[in-house]
Symmetry: C2
Subunit: 342 residues, 2 copies
Amino acid sequence: MITKKQVLEGLETVLVPGVMQSVVKMNLVRDVNITDGKIDIKLASAALAPGAQEWLKDKISSAAGSLAGVNEVNINVVDGNPKDLNDIGQVIAIMSGKGGVGKSLVASLTAVALARSDYDVGILDADITGPSIPRMFGITGHPQGNETGILPVTSKLGIEIMSINLLLPHEDDAVIWRGPLIGRAITQFWEEVLWGKLDYLVVDLPPGTADAPLTVLQSLPVSGIIIVFTPQDLTTMVVKKAVKMARQMDKPIIGVVENMSYFLLPETGKKIELFGKSRGEEMAKAAGAPLLGTLPIDPALAKLCDEGNIERYDSEIYNSFVQNLTGILQNGKKPAKKQQRR
Amino acid sequence: MITKKQVLEGLETVLVPGVMQSVVKMNLVRDVNITDGKIDIKLASAALAPGAQEWLKDKISSAAGSLAGVNEVNINVVDGNPKDLNDIGQVIAIMSGKGGVGKSLVASLTAVALARSDYDVGILDADITGPSIPRMFGITGHPQGNETGILPVTSKLGIEIMSINLLLPHEDDAVIWRGPLIGRAITQFWEEVLWGKLDYLVVDLPPGTADAPLTVLQSLPVSGIIIVFTPQDLTTMVVKKAVKMARQMDKPIIGVVENMSYFLLPETGKKIELFGKSRGEEMAKAAGAPLLGTLPIDPALAKLCDEGNIERYDSEIYNSFVQNLTGILQNGKKPAKKQQRR
């Protein structure tokens, strides 16, 4: 007789339109009952536009109906809110206090590293007034949804992304909002976006220690913080404010990353410290957390970011960052990789 | 007979303790009456600690008493609020939308340029959660004051500075405030700091288009905005949001500055565009304002900023920025230089 596991495996091929992830991964399949050759499936309607619901019912019907020994498939659409359906392993916030040090870059590289290691990953762009994530991943689509919530947009590597810029008519439109509205946008990105099942949700925080970081650290179950800085003394002073904020709010710092640490001359390979000597050790000590990486200024990476191709980046230095990061995460509360979990 | 002008000139030598600017420049001398050899002076108490009041009365007495033909000096201390005593020519906001592009650097260089051209200049550091100004000028003193307000701290070149970092026990303490408190701090810096007479007040805005820039553009009489950006495509997209904000709030953009535009190899003088091709023309067009300067990444400047010696910076490129800036300002509503005004 056919098993529930076989049905779910069969439904892995059914992709939710818009987000292009399977209906199982998005956690929309709420129940599967098998009686002889008859399958009853409960499908949550969360964040699905009416057209998408009908389309999905058809696809599920034919996918389940094509399994050996199945002679009837019934699909009941049930109500569902993204908040109740989301199943997120760890929330990792990328923070700095100072702007322009490469928070979005480190957030993106972190997500890419985890996706390449075969984890299910999402990025919540909490920088409401200066969002960079969609551009780095070359994403321009508008999210779909219904009154219960919206679907994230998916990158080439399968990373789910939500950013205010995906919701604006033009990506350079200004979001001139005071703190309460910004806080509300961030909690909506947490509660009303159908992330489905994720091993990691990476949150890209804006600069400062005001509303947006405060809302994220107070309202989201952040399990760890990565602090980003550059070697300038001035920067490390401001970044230490972020470290103090994390401490005061009792959130663990899992590592620090130095960005723009140096520049390698293309001709000679000579290292030039454009912003002064590395402060990796000093900042690791200040944060009480390991130095995960020391990233150079890399014009090739800047170009990939501008072209929306950050997922293609590869370098020896980056790989060492990835190893350190995944090492740290695997020593902590480790979500099972998707192969193991499913 | 002695004239009021002579008395005021005599009082130019009397410096207000803490701020180290003359009692006349700080606008504390509210009235001078001369009857034969008797001088009656009204001295505003605004922002003066009680000890400073007594000290000033003594100094004013002896300075005025030493003038030829004076045989009696009476000083009446009258109430006064900084808001009523401040006399500020133009308020120039330095804005970007994006963090880390060098707003504070451009704000500081702008103030230094104007101070070197013999204008009276102040800097209001509106970046409450990531203030950089005091560090760049090497200022560590705590401002003095009374219940009506506080005095700014003065740089080596005589630039008056107010920043949240001057009020914190440690400069790396985090200011974990939501928007309303941040807005309140900024309006206090405007209303409760005794700036006295200034030709220009340069306001260093934080990144984003949320509470702090909004408060400054709504509450302060901003006469012009300078937009700062770096050549990365990603940055110009976010900076265009700031341009749109300035437009929507009907504030004139007086110029744009490209920072980190390139790096000159020390050995060969070869220009390396670390973050891509210059976007000066594109941004000038987007802002509808002239390109005031194209500043390179200059490790010497980074070092001066870290050491608190930004006032010592000099370079050919910087001088061309200064010329463009003062040219623009002088074509607009030009405050008289201090020699002419006094």
